[in-house]
Symmetry: none
Subunit: 258 residues, 2 copies
């Protein structure tokens, strides 16, 4: 449904984008984001448990009103993400979180070449005005993005943050011309995570480390965005290791060569 | 007075910046711009014949309140520009004006290298919410900048436009500073590739595929650029798999749990 606004067929290689606002509490911000989406040629907006949208939201949306009216409202984040192949979470406190929770963030200008080179649908999540995205929400996304600010007051208004990201995406769309290779779909990504999970089980990976290692792996893949061939090669290694371990466990004494 | 926030003396090559709002009519926008200036480390704000600034302006400014309180108010644009060495005007309708009045606009990313390489003070003018800058005001500036939007609705909110420009200026300052998270060194990357090689050997990975799988892995890691923690977590998985296989091969029948 959402496409970067196309001028001729120049943008055909861009993915689709959905902007997901998670529990926005200030209706004016929702309206301002709708306006910014309209400015930069985006149209697919999903609201997760939003505040009520009244006159202020529509006043701030201006000519973004139609897309605000067309926005879907859902009660669960999962529902908002079900069409997404890649999910991008925004966070205002990159540095601290990186140290504390091993989260590595991309800048908007690092994000853009990664997501614009793929096919499919990219969901961009913006969190609550006061708390942003909760940790479990941040853990579930493929890519974390942070807009570098000065150290004294790095907490941006949510519609300003959305605008910066939409601006960078639009900038890239305006400069993209050629076809790009097709990248891993969400289905393939989940298969890769499943294959990792099976290997972790096979090697008796400590239960308390599993979650963060899985998150780490998801993030690595989110930043690298494997091509189809890379995906199959990587799957081959993970499955090869798991199969070797299972075979050795079940048929002791045969050794790794078969 | 205004400086990009300096960390050490790394930003000393940046000029000073003044943000000049010409006859802003919506106090919330003035507050939102003050917040964005605080986010990106700017502090010098001049208001030309502004609307009254009340609760809404200060509410939207949040921690940008001090710079809003310190803003100068003047009645003439000339007064606002008297300290400026270079003046930059923003316009939302680049194309028409460009054709009609031979005005060539720069994008924000074209603007940045031009102004950041200079010394002195740069004034960035943002016009009225409804009419922007008048023709005579546009005629008086040194550089015209336009933020490329989609063709359907290119008129941005004034605080969004300010944010995009401040973001681009800060980005330039940050890259002058080399403000990047720590990345995996070559040595660590080689250790990761070595660990992969050992796993490939352990699982009897076909010799003719080894080279391109290793290249694939190097490329994936090159694109993802693992953090130190991600590096160690990934090493743990690869080594864990290799060790499990070796142990099972050497002591058949013990199973994977130990």
């Amino acid at each position: 449904m959402t496409r970067m606004i196309t001028e001729g067929s120049l943008h055909r290689a861009m993915p689709d984008f959905t902007i997901v606002l998670v529990e926005p509490r200030v209706e004016g911000n929702v309206g301002a984001i709708a306006r910014s989406m309209a400015n930069f040629g985006f149209s697919d907006l999903v609201l997760v448990n939003p505040c009520n949208l009244g006159d202020e939201a529509y006043r701030r949306a201006k000519h973004g009103r139609p897309l605000l009216e067309a926005a879907s409202t859902v009660t669960e984040l999962e529902e908002a993400l079900k069409r997404a192949d890649i999910t991008v979470g925004t966070t205002g406190i990159a540095t601290k979180r990186e140290k504390a929770f091993h989260r590595q963030t991309l800048t908007p200008w690092e994000l853009v070449p990664k997501v614009t080179s793929m096919d499919g649908r990219v969901a961009i999540l913006l969190g609550r005005e006061d708390y942003g995205l909760y940790n479990e929400e941040l853990d579930s996304v493929d890519i974390l993005v942070n807009i570098p600010c000065g150290p004294e007051y790095p907490v941006m208004n949510i519609s300003h943050a959305a605008t910066v990201i939409l601006y960078e995406l639009h900038k890239a769309a305006a400069s993209i011309n050629g076809e790009r290779p097709r990248e891993a779909s969400g289905f393939e990504k989940e298969r890769l995570l499943h294959a990792l999970g099976e290997l972790l089980t096979a090697i008796n990976y400590p239960e308390h480390k599993r979650r963060r290692t899985t998150v780490m792996f998801r993030r690595l893949m989110g930043r690298a965005i494997p091509s189809k061939w890379e995906f199959y090669a990587f799957m081959g290694v993970l499955r090869g290791a798991t199969k070797t371990i299972r075979r050795l466990s079940e048929s002791p004494g045969r050794g790794p060569s078969s």
